[in-house]
Subunit: 237 residues, 8 copies
């Protein structure tokens, strides 16, 4: 497909101008996945308005970083949506597809749970079955080793950690699949809002680790699901 | 395989103590790839000594960040090794395996070439065929669009950029495969040794991007090859 | 005009001491524009008091970073002032001048809108007609290319972006006019309050880009209007 | 002109692949100015090779951050090129156009001279006549005031300063034209490689100031020349 | 006086343990000034309790960074104390000493007033008469020059500025007396909580400038008063 | 002992003024250990001069961060001193005391060896027997577990690591004795000269970890030896 | 004990899954101390739930960073727990062991008290008797010298300081026992949330100092108690 | 004296344009002191050229940060100049004035000597007699107390320290005169080029401390001499 054809095809898909954002209905076309709405910094009304537009065109929808209030507002219009309290996310899934196994989401401490759950919910909505391995910090290495089999079964791992951010390195030394590392802003003092685990993960001595933004559970779950899908079915354009 | 069995198996593989490092011959077993030697900060003698040990046990070897002098020293002992001047890397490949297509390595400017080449050489040694798309900075967007077809054929892309580090975001908006972003220390002033593109890439607004350390071409090439291998053959333990 | 004459002329213009600020009525003389009031950190009473003084001497007035409450307080005294909710700005314009075309204000995401609108409102009050091109992030490059004609018609562009801050580089590669880049504090984690897009913009590989402070929509709109006025009428002392 | 036409036109201009960079002969077409070569980090041979290609297609050429050795190598092939020792730049100008007045380049201390000269040489090659106002630091305000007339005649000012970076604010308070501020890495200790003046300039309390990267004299001179050209002749596409 | 004598003398002055702080009644002896209480982070009850103890032993008392509520609580016990609303400080002065002229306190913008007033109130309580020169930012240099005579009459100047922090450099270029520079956290974006003016002031190109902590009006006023006292009467042990 | 007695006792010990440093012969008295000389930044002559003075009064001497040249110069005067090439340290030990077991020094990679050796040599000179456990990075956790018995026998452990700095957390989760963590400046890019492992170690989720300065092998070995001595014999004043 | 035995022993201890955390009852076995609960970021309900589980299995429990409300909720279930208001900690101690002397906790200012108390309470619960030496900042050195005897009696000292963080260096110069330094986030401006004292302590010129995270009173008290226990009884596995 | 008169008087003093700097012969008039030349970054020829001009008009001259080579070049033209090797400064003093006592220069370690000497030489050339108190780090507090009498005799103290930068706080707690604190870049690791002592000094808990740039011995000596002169003779315009 030539550039002109590509641009042409993208251009003729319908835009809808809803005042504060041009909703991009053809992102699904480009990346095999519906639009995602970052709820943070948006009013409930704005979220509802965008959600309705998207739900009219797509069978799957993800809204991240929203509280229960926004959920109730969205549910009035989209009664089949679902709230994931730990992840602070709303999902809508009318696709009824089956889940392919292969994604493992891990975290070091209980404070990292919201970010880990955001990753897990994202990957699930994208069609991956997720094994959760939580509270396996590096200071208790035997807990981690107990999960070795689960870890080794993964096609992609999301590893979430705050504090010293050491878990991805240890995990990557035990598995052959790619590790997507997520630093969290959990902690205090010299954590500097997640800078400490971010730098630690970027400096990982283990091969096969790449890093996303602090607290970016969505990005990590998205990437893990893309890798998992590819690894099992090849890339579906 | 139980944890005890795993540990047992790893333990009984032969260690060799060569004074300044315990060479780990069974990493290949764990991750399907031979040991990599970071040449930086090691003397030519040290590199030669490690390389000989590893070459005796493995059919593939990668030595990164070495100059031509070290290459000549290694070549005396391992005549079939090869030097990649742009990448500043030595490779030894006695495996004669065929390459699987699927990795694209891109960079924004000519100054990013050494890092891009380190990524490409790494991925090739790991069995991936690499398409190089170089000098396609975001300030000349038409050059980039001309390569759209190549980019879309990838199972994994390595995108290398210094300065404002914008290329991975633009690329990830055009493809469905995972993008491994590599910031470089190229630049001056407010680049702060690569901090500027590193932060930019971590904040990428495009899904499907993960980041490795500044100038870490090796890590990116390694990860891309792992993803590509999985995507085409499944994970080989 | 000699320094002495200049200082003399400036000095004999009337000062009014209103307790917390010496209002500078002759700034208009120096720069062809009325005083601007930064509302942030000032009480409604303080803003009203300053606004009245200025409105008595100037036909145009801009108050930035104020809420609707302050607007209502100002409106009681200056009934012909206007509130721009998105920009969080109050304007008063009794000059009834016509607008000269030539300024384009762009932003990458909907979260960048308040800053973009502050820039647009500022440039309009200074006599420039503003074309708004919003929600054209670099991860959807085709949207941006659709606006190429508008972008190329500009004498000055304000380009607002948070996250990776890549938009100014891409835009500057497509136009010949100056680009004033504005990083925003939108984002989280490794954005570090706007540091990420700030550094990215300072490192732009494209010529013709200069940067103002994080979230400084006013400064960018001001500069764009100055350039636009010069480009069409020459500099009016 | 449509996007497709634009892309088409750009695409059919001749590329030449010279090994380490695809030389972009049509940038002149896009921005009214020949390619610029950043000499830093390139060998003399590389610079000569690029310079020859560019000189065959363009009547003006700028090479920045090169020493006298590289100049001698370039001069063998392009005998009519010229070296600007203070600016560490090579220029080639076969256009013989006349210079339009309107650019003023200022600097605070003698250590800022190389950056100021890089700006001045750039603006001159782009067709602007440059008035130099050097060594007018804010600690000796009377020197600055003596140059008020020259400063006020400008259509665009480049203001270069290291240390506390205060000069752009003072200048912008005295003129109506745009000020392009350039922080320099001159200084020691808490200058942190130019971070101090960079932050100072971004926080300028004066309107009409925008900032480029530390030591980026080229970028500032380029932008000033673009503004000056526009202000006098309008934008030439 | 020998070390032993000094320690002995200090030791025999009465301590009073009031639970959360050992009040140090002999600091006055050491430095010619009563204890100062930093109100920030202390409850009204704590402040009242310390204030009473100190007022019983000293004729002058300063409490900084307290609101009107704390003032009212203190006033119930110490009816002759006084509140300085702009400075957010409480003073008690039963010394009835005359004030020696010689301290000038300056600030760049109205937002810097609280810090400037904290400095002025401190210096006054320490026996210096203070001339206030406010709202003289460097972008309006003529206002500053109008105050030249006042500035030159000072034995010590406190110069308070946020944003680009340029005022101390300009002032120090015009006077011969020491300049104590105080950066403020006023501002936004790349001010980074006062880092920008702090670095600017530390890099001042003018001789005779020293810097105190961000927003530390007290420290600056204290130091200016010490210098002024010395300059007029010599050091009184 | 009273303060006066203490000061008196310290004061009457002989000072010797050797021009560039007052050698403190009574530190041994205070801390049970001879003076240590930081060789970095001192000329060979200066080191020799200090070493001679110290050796005349003390039976043990440590000189850190010196090359073989300085060693040869010292050896001419102190023939019984010894050079530790890996640690870059000179020691002199005429005390002939026996070593008490209990210190373990560990490091993650071969590049961390010089720092680890500086710690080990220091602890040995202070009377501790040192078990070295090197090259046990967290990415190969089985190597580490193989050394569990040695680790658990320690009264104090020094754990040296660069890159992500994860080793101290893992070790502290496996032992009960105190862990002194030493970040190293080994690494590149986002290591920022050792900042990454420093922050990681400060944020360790494991109890019993404290941190010394980047590359400060001496400080860690010193502290470990102090703890070991106390743990076995009690504190010897 | 072999690795396999160790892992086996750890593994067979009972896990209890209480929804948000796998409570680790055998940490006491590993480190001679019960689980510690970081209250910060947990709801009262979560804290109560964890506390009950732990109290059923251990005779000592520490909950840090909780307010009086959480204490009241815990007390309903565990009536013999105790609240330490200054330290913001809950303790439960049914062990009735006697305290061994040897730990000194010091702090520089009254604002550092909460962190110092967290350290003291922790050490006491771990079996150490604690001498408190508070409000001995380095600007009043005579107060500090008055406590010399107490300081010299310690087997381990915790030294807490904000602001310039100088106290640990001064203390370490006066004692022979290990000093655990704790920087606090007390302060403002250029303290940058405790960065200033953190860096100061890491750069301490005195031997025998190691540092824990900003405000980490718990970590310091824990480490001091471990050292003290070892120093008096040897290590009890 | 009016502003116009001041500017007029300054303006009519002779400028000399020597190519790379406008030498300012009337600074002496303004501040009672000759021009100072920062040698760093200037060639020997440039230094000689400036020095000659200045020496023709002023009886005192200071050139900082120059090596012995530059000294020899200057001496050929100005045979009565003097080199201070430790301070790396050249002075010329034909004034033959007597020195007024009152300045004390202190430093913590021998590595801080060059900066301390730069301060001392500066203050001496400005007419102050300097008492040097060197190598009195806070880890050996008794050495410091031995110098109490000297310290208390000062009208102004310069206190130089690297590492943790604690000395100024301790000194300011013992004296009543102003303390000018100078952080040095001595140290390694978490010193970050002097950032650690800089922040420590800015956060000093002792009153009467102000800070100059890292390694800025000149600035501190200058300020101390100004304060000393004022304190003894009043300000001489």
């Amino acid at each position: 497909m030539s550039v002109e054809e590509t641009l042409e095809r993208l251009r003729h898909l319908p835009y809808e101008d809803i005042g504060f954002a041009e909703v991009d209905h053809h992102r699904a076309l480009r990346r095999g996945f519906p639009e995602v709405v970052l709820g943070e910094g948006k009013s409930s009304d704005q979220v509802v308005s965008i959600a309705e537009r998207l739900a009219a065109q797509s069978d799957r929808l993800l809204i991240t970083r929203v509280g229960a209030d926004t959920y109730r507002a969205v549910k009035e219009r989209l009664p089949d949506c679902r709230y994931h309290a730990e992840a602070r996310a709303i999902t809508l899934d009318r696709s009824r597809g089956s889940l392919r196994p292969g994604v493992v989401v891990m975290c070091a401490g209980t404070s990292d749970l919201p970010v880990a759950e955001e990753a897990a919910v994202t990957a699930e909505l994208m069609g991956s079955q997720v094994d959760r391995v939580y509270d396996v910090g590096v200071a208790g290495i035997h807990r981690l080793l107990d999960k070795l089999e689960t870890m080794r079964s993964a096609k992609a791992l999301v590893v979430v950690a705050g504090m010293e951010g050491a878990l991805p390195s240890v995990v990557a030394g035990l598995v052959a699949a790619p590790v997507v590392a997520v630093p969290t802003s959990v902690g205090y003092g010299a954590s500097f809002g997640g800078l400490a685990p971010l730098l630690a993960m970027l400096n990982s001595c283990a091969g096969g680790v790449a890093v996303v933004n602090i607290d970016n559970g969505f990005g990590a779950g998205y990437l893990a699901a893309v890798i998992n899908r590819q690894s099992q079915e090849g890339l579906r354009e």
